[in-house]
Symmetry: C5
Subunit: 355 residues, 5 copies
């Protein structure tokens, strides 16, 4: 059991608060740092494998996006933290991948944690933590590994598509969060399909052995997605309300747009949740219905043939004196009686709508 446990909550008990310890799976992944530096007219894109090299890019009149992949490189992250004077607790949260989505508002920067959700090839939900730090004219993003949902954003920066190049760092933060939230629609579509598949299975009576387990797994999946998505609503509404000087008033309309999407996603998830409960009920009902059917077959068969067998038993008795036995047409008359009883019982069950 001890071994099983060790994976879930990696916060080391008794660890000094503010210690920056990576809680994900140990890996030898290389550090990969992307830097985008742009303003309306120019943009530079560089890749590094060492944080020191990227510090030059921070200038006051351009927007700098430093995207770091590989949370296992703790010392490098501490170096960044020092350079941008980020609170040790923030660094601890960045590398603690079981962090809950949240926002911490410091004087000089905002710290936002969100969860990137996607289905892997086995149709299992993968949740990857993305930490975002918004400063005066820069955004830092931290991801566990390469591969993310930001490709279209990169293109928009490269091609000066949309508003991105004309806006400040607060818009860049919005664009990153928007990309994450947009992907949630993907998730809820797959969830919706899964629920529909369950429904179809139940209604077609085509319920396989692991149905109970699968439905429980789906319920847990929905709970996990819920947990990843719901707290972000509060993140956004604190951005809207707090009016940190780092967020321009004009950008807030965009954040409100994310908020609308989140509400839409959240509503869907709650509906799915209710539908899962309802599916359980349906399943229970369908089991009972089946049992009813089984019982009816049994009842009909037994109720028809047990009395008939009784009658046959009567005339199998060896009493010396049973007058009917001597009568020549008795056997045929008996058959008549049996058939009458048979038909009468059939009619009885028919009237009860059991047939």
């Amino acid at each position: 059991m001890a071994k099983k446990r060790s994976k879930k909550f990696q916060k080391k008990i008794g660890q000094v608060p503010g210690t920056v310890i990576y809680t994900g799976e140990k890996s030898t992944r290389d550090l990969f740092i992307e830097v985008f530096n742009y303003d309306k007219d120019n943009y530079i894109e560089k890749n590094f494998s060492n944080v020191d090299e990227c510090f030059d890019f921070r200038q006051s009149n351009t927007v700098t996006w430093i995207n770091l992949n590989g949370l296992n490189h703790v010392s490098q992250i501490e170096k960044i933290g020092e350079h941008f004077s980020i609170h040790p607790l923030v660094l601890e949260d960045i590398v603690n991948i079981s962090q809950r989505p949240k926002i911490d508002i410091y004087d000089d920067y905002l710290f936002v944690v969100v969860k990137m959700l996607y289905y892997d090839t086995n149709e299992k939900i993968i949740s990857e933590q993305v930490s975002l730090v918004l400063g005066e004219n820069y955004v830092l993003s931290f991801q566990e590994a390469e591969g993310d949902v930001f490709d279209s954003l990169r293109d928009r920066i490269r091609n000066a598509q949309g508003r991105i190049r004309t806006q400040q760092a607060d818009y860049l933060l919005y664009a990153l969060m928007d990309a994450v939230v947009d992907h949630y629609f993907n998730i809820i579509e797959i969830l919706s399909d899964k629920i529909e598949d369950f429904e179809t299975d139940i209604f077609s009576g085509n319920v396989h052995e692991h149905f109970n387990k699968d439905i429980q797994d789906l319920k847990r999946e929905i709970l996990r997605v819920r947990r990843a998505i719901f707290p972000i609503r509060e993140v956004i509404s604190r951005i809207e309300k707090h009016e940190s000087p780092l967020i321009n008033k004009k950008t807030i309309a965009y954040y409100r747009d994310i908020y609308d999407h989140l509400i839409q996603v959240a509503e869907n998830i709650d509906i799915y949740r209710e539908m899962i409960w309802s599916l359980m009920d349906m399943y229970m009902t369908s089991i009972s219905n089946k049992m009813n059917e089984v019982m009816k077959v049994l009842t009909i068969m037994a109720s028809i043939f047990i009395p008939l067998t009784f009658i046959a038993g009567i005339y199998g008795m060896n009493f010396d004196y049973i007058p009917e036995l001597r009568y020549k047409y008795a056997y045929f008359i008996l058959w008549g009686v049996l058939i009458v009883i048979f038909v009468a019982l059939l009619w009885f069950f028919k009237r009860k709508k059991w047939l």
Copy 2:
């Protein structure tokens, strides 16, 4: 599966925010624009198929209602947006038909999204998005397709019936929303009928094969209606509270009236929801009751005839020495015994109220 999904959430992932992309079904429907321009004494009504033509009608001393049908004509909508200086995010929301009912309050205009609900000929609920923009002296309305719930409103403008011609644009917005909300009563009446039909079916034992599925469909329908209607309450209460200069204080009483209707609709929907859950329980109970009845028949038949058959079996044995067999009246006595047992068991079941 991929194909199935593509219909539900058409927000393109990775799309530049503020891009105006129609998310409904592609269609070749023509653009159809209606313009009403009126004040107390005069009114003009014109139809166009091109937005440029309708811009002349906007004057400061009359109320102008521009009703646009055909959200697939994205470029025309963008032209309108430009002319009335509407924020790109608003235009994106107008053509994104999976938008949630909401209000966005800008300095120069209000943007309201509501859902027009009606049953189609197959008794399926159709939800059509209506976007409304209230400006200084105009209201823009955007609908997916022709055909709506505003005919009586048009007549009132034409005939100067009621207050409409003597009021400002804020009253026109109210009148449009009121027409939408009034139709919800239609919906809840049909829902109420459907629930009553289910009840009657359950209580009369007349439950067809797809009952489970139908009840699940109804539940989903109620959830959908709920989702379309509930957020509008917040829309109205923000109109009441915010006191945007575009809404006159005197008109607020009218909005409060819509609010009352919405509360009434919402209450009904919540009652229906509870009744559906309760119907499920009733259904479950009725299944169990039926099984009980089936079991009783089986038990009565088996419990009566199995012992009798046993007795008949005894006297069918071929032992050389069974004294009863030789006795002349044994057979008739046996019949007496069998009948006594039969009657006793019947009486037993009668006393247990199983008969």
Copy 3:
């Protein structure tokens, strides 16, 4: 279906807002108007059948109560509305009998809608709408038909009993609402009795055929009462808070008293609701218990006699050589064996506590 629907929500779709249309059942009931005009020392009571006659009674230094029965006389109501300068939306609400309890606070008057609940002779709940308008020194009350819960109040005015004659119009409004709310205790008592009857039925196993339907009806009844009563709490708390100049500070203690009663009623209703759900569970359990009992009888009968029948069957076989058959006491020994098996099985079921 269309016909069935037409009764429930009479708000005409597309109707001009503020149109005063009676939504109750059409009737030819006569208009009946009562007027009470009183101060500390004097009181006048008059009955009319025409509103014009009652306008003289409004004076600044006495309290006037105009009680109008017969909402079908729409034009008369409009005349009153005009005389007291009441907003058209208020008049529309007065005659729309599916109105939800609410309060609208206007500058010159308060408009309150409450529901008068009572059981008719068939033990069905009747809900009658009472609209109340409190002005400077008058109260208007509007009822669908004659017959109400205000008789004791009338007596108190006539006999100068209690404080009523020494108080202002705000106290009269209180007294009217108090009379309505007092009657709710009646309702919840009957509900309580009905629930107890159900319980007794379930526990005594005396469950008739329509049990399922009756319990569903009761649930719906409770939901309806809830809907009539719960919103009034908000009405009162808005009266308490808003401190409209029409309500004297000293009278608020009395309104708080109504509030306490409403909370008490509301608590009871919620308890009844929970108990109904719990009754459903009990009922389900009792069905299962019964099935258990049925199954036990079947199992005992079948398990005892099927093996015995088998043994009898063995010795009914016609093999040429079955040594036991020839033995003289075989038959009696067999009976011994059968009885031993019989007793052993009985003992087995006894030990399992099935007997």
Copy 4:
């Protein structure tokens, strides 16, 4: 039915508001008045049977506690009310024993209603209303009958134990409420024991006939306790917040202490409630489990002996030509076959874990 009802809600319909009418059971109990008058150094304790005599004790520099037993002596209570200028609605509430716990804050005094709960000798919960009025330097308490939870408080006053004698009237009010709330722990302990007893019964399968009814009774008991206890939390928090001049700031810490106890009691009650629901589920499950067991016995017995009986039936047939019948060892071979089938079926059920 009418008779049954008359006990529950004694508020007379149509009664003049502020009329002081005792709603408890009519009784001829004598009035019993206790007066404690104390300060740091002295204390006087007197008993009376008439309120007039106790008015002298009210002095400005000592604390006076007047404890009145016997709410049926309405006129005496009215006399007290007059003497201390208490609002008629308060007096009405004092003698209306179906009052909900609440606080009314008047300018000169606080009015608090709480419920004293205890189990009678039949283990039924008795709820007795205690009304408390806190004035400048006095506390009035009103109880239905003699016998209460205040004995230890009396001792503390007599013996100058604890802080009581050095404190003002607001501390006395606290001490009274504290005594009442302390007794709730008694109640929840008994409830806890009852639930445990139910659990033990279910798990030991030792479920008597009235189980369903008893569990329903317990549920109702919990609902009643809940209703008596929960509103007091609001009473306390209003005392804490309102900062009526009658409550010294230093005493508030004590009230907060009651609040903590109430939260603890309330939490327990909610847990019990959830556990009761869960017990119902357990019970349902245990019924199903039992039915399963019954069914297994039936299935095993029937499935084993029905095929065997069939085989015996075959060789009981009277065909002229059945070759096996003539074979000498056929009978013994048949027994072998029967035993093989018997063992095979046993093994089959064993493998299915039904045995």
Copy 5:
């Protein structure tokens, strides 16, 4: 029963408020007092068995942590209380081990109660109360017995590890609470494992006899953990908001970190709770599924052999004239018929998917 009760709520009824009475199990455990006194550069650690000796350590420029084990030494605790001028109600709460987690904010100190949770060797949850008092430059902690979760904190003080030695007493309070909360992750991991074990058991059909009881125990365990953990959220948020002068603004970020952990724990607990309910449903469903299987076996066996037995019974009759009996191949033909019926019924059940 009386004996059973005496353990749960030890608050003595009628006890003088502010009386310091230990409510845990009586024990003869010795008092054990640890004192840590440190600043940036120095630290002293001493152990005592008498409170008097530890008072010298309180100085204004160092942080003092006095950790007292052994709540049964009430008089010693009162002595401490006197020395640090702590309110008697606080002392009462310290030794009342059924206290709910809470914070009381006094002018000179904060009083915090939390629950230390851990599993004992029998996998039962032990909850130990830890009371913390934060004063100007000291923290007092009170524990029932030796053995706690603070060892790593002690090491950090000794080795000047992390920030602890450079911070004030408010950070020490944080560090203590953090250590307690960190241990909760342990608890929820074990809970999570237990739930998974239940699931595995249900899905593998490997449900032992006490399943019902075990699941109920787990539910109760979760309720208890919930009750211990949830109120701490309010404690923290009051620390954050209240901005008592004892908490430095810079330390609040650390408290917020605890808050995040608590939310995470709380979310998990709520998910576990929902999953337990869902497990109950699964269990119920699995019982029904099993019964279905049992019924199918019975139905198949009975439905096949009862008709066959009937046929055999027919030809066991002793009528003088049954023509078939005389036909030479009749017996073999009959076997053919029996086999045909047997196969047909098998095919019938196969088609119904019961086989």
